[in-house]
Subunit: 331 residues, 2 copies
DNA sequence: ATATGCCCTGAAATTGTTTTCAGGCACAGG
DNA sequence: CCTGTGCCTGAAAACAATTTCAGGGCATAT
């Protein structure tokens, strides 16, 4: 069918071993041979079958990034960080999506077990901590962006508790006391942590926690809109709203704009993620920025380290976040 | 190192051939053997090495989708269409990004040449038509979303000329005569086609083409903002603006909103792509919707057909688009 | 009793590459 | 002239699976 190393060897009048040496740029091969082989390769239009190579070498130099869907443009910087770092070490990054299905996530991890890739990174896993811990013990598996409580696997993330706390503290320092929270019923650990930060900030400032100020929805913008409408129809309206994602915050502001609420004065808004639209949408949204590129970079570095290590590093690395202050907090 | 089929065979007291038969659910194997093998597999925690299997079978059942970056959330529906269709036929879809670098695009195509995947789909290629035509002649390669003039390769897209024309015709039918165009200097074929549609619509309606009404920028929202500002500072202002992407349109409307222009009355806006934000942003944007899911579905179906065919199908399939009419055209 | 057919099994070939090992050759030093 | 050294080379093993082929065992038919 396809042209193989054997055909090249035959055409160049050398052994397949010599062709292989040329392909891999080994030093111990004569110039004549190199010339002849390269000539044959060109004429035949040969390109090596990596299945053979990978099998023999037991490595593919490929890493799989498993994400929920390509919808969240938010992942894109993380992926870039992963790719650039991987490439500099001679690896390629492939992406696959789970569509929020834990079974499909497991199916994709099959690529790791079956040696189709050398390592895998989960960005927002759907599987539980126990399962992942077990898998990570025997395979080159890491997590990024999301940590999992009690999960013994290499993790790179930010401190979402502290980040939520910082955002809410900022609102409190602006003199706000009735702070609404818009979050999701879907309990990703990061959502849980951000909510925890919200509560800690209130507590440390002696503000009583009021459950009616917390709206649980989905993660679409329209859910943010509904959340804002609900919070604003309370007898005692909030004077600030913290949303656990920019998407929710933007949805929320849509209601506020429609209702004629003065954003940044009457009610302050704080988002999370610093997505592209947070500074396209008017008014510009104050938000928490994570070091996306750096998280991608670090997780790949550590993952590749682990591939060569005898005992894998299963630490959790938390990178620093920062507050981006814009119009919605009156800045 | 790892546990292989040999270990399983030994543990189950059968030959590796029998283990292989069990793994592949062949009928001609006794129940006792099946039992013993499955038991051994479980005890050893064995999972087959696909490199061996793929090499022997000369197929990986994997398809590579090559995109520019995961930033354009716009791709996500296409990918979903690809994945769902592929999965139903027993294939997995992997994604890789070129970061707009034609060299890297070629590097990624190496996965196709080296038999690491069974087929590849380019979504918005950076390579030229000639190169792609040659590659497609010898490998299982297709294009989706973007066509390339004179490229002899399986392509699934929409008719961007007609779509641009439809959008502009709609504006004309609303009584508009001075229609601005916001586009990009980066000449993707789809941009060229949409601009062509714009000109054809004008021509067919006897409206002279006015170059000062065309703004060439990048594809960021801020470029749309600049474009709108420039067009609105003309002596003879436009009464409608067609942007070749929603992103540009949203950027443009940001200027209009800030300048107090009555969107949907004074100036109509028409976008392209129907991205998520086009109905989050207020006012809601009228836009052209492409059948993303269907394009993804069709390209995979045709690509898989091509894998089994003796002579590959190199046709271009154009799927129907539709106009989504919202507030920005006064609907 | 022998032949026929079916079910199940394992040895060995096969897939395309890398790597090991042994040896051929030339050249320098004794 | 002989030996050691270094460079280059090819045959064959290895990687982990699938598939082919031949045959053993058993039941049924003749």
């Amino acid at each position: 069918m396809s042209v193989t190393i054997k055909d090249v060897a035959h055409k160049a009048n050398v052994s397949i071993a010599t062709v292989s040496r040329v392909l891999n740029h080994k030093s111990n091969v004569s110039e004549d041979a190199v010339e002849a082989v390269n000539q044959a390769i060109k004429e035949l239009g040969y390109s090596p079958n990596f299945l053979g190579r990978d099998l023999r070498k037991s490595e593919t130099r490929r890493i799989l990034a498993i994400i929920a869907s390509t919808e969240q443009s938010f992942y894109s910087e993380v992926i870039r960080g992963m790719e650039e770092t991987a490439m500099s070490k001679g690896y390629d990054v492939l992406i696959a999506t789970t569509r929020d299905d834990p079974n499909h996530e497991m199916h994709l991890l099959g690529m790791l077990f079956s040696h189709s890739v050398d390592g895998a990174v989960l960005l927002g896993p759907k599987l539980d901590a126990k399962t992942i811990s077990e898998l990570a013990a025997n395979h080159n598996l890491a997590m990024c962006l999301e940590r999992l409580d009690g999960c013994k696997a290499l993790t790179v993330t930010i401190n979402n508790v502290q980040a939520g706390k910082d955002a809410v503290n900022y609102l409190i320092n602006k003199g706000r006391r009735r702070i609404g929270l818009i979050t999701t019923t879907q309990r990703a650990q990061s959502s849980v942590d951000r909510e925890l930060g919200y509560r800690q900030a209130l507590e440390e400032n002696g503000i009583p926690y009021d459950p009616s100020l917390v709206y649980y929805g989905t993660y679409g913008a329209d859910s943010g809109t509904r959340g804002c409408r609900e919070l604003m129809s309370l007898e005692k309206k909030p004077d600030a709203i913290f949303a656990i994602s920019d998407m929710l915050a933007i949805g929320a502001m849509n209601h506020a704009l429609a209702a004629g609420i003065k954003i940044g004065k009457e009610v302050l808004f704080f988002g999370f993620d610093d997505i592209q639209y947070s500074h396209i949408f008017i008014p510009h949204l104050s938000t928490v920025r994570q070091p996306c590129f750096m998280q991608g970079k670090l997780v790949i570095e550590k993952l590749i380290d682990n591939m060569r290590a005898e005992t894998p590093d299963t630490s959790t690395y938390m990178l620093p976040h920062s507050l981006i202050l814009r119009e919605t907090t009156g800045d």
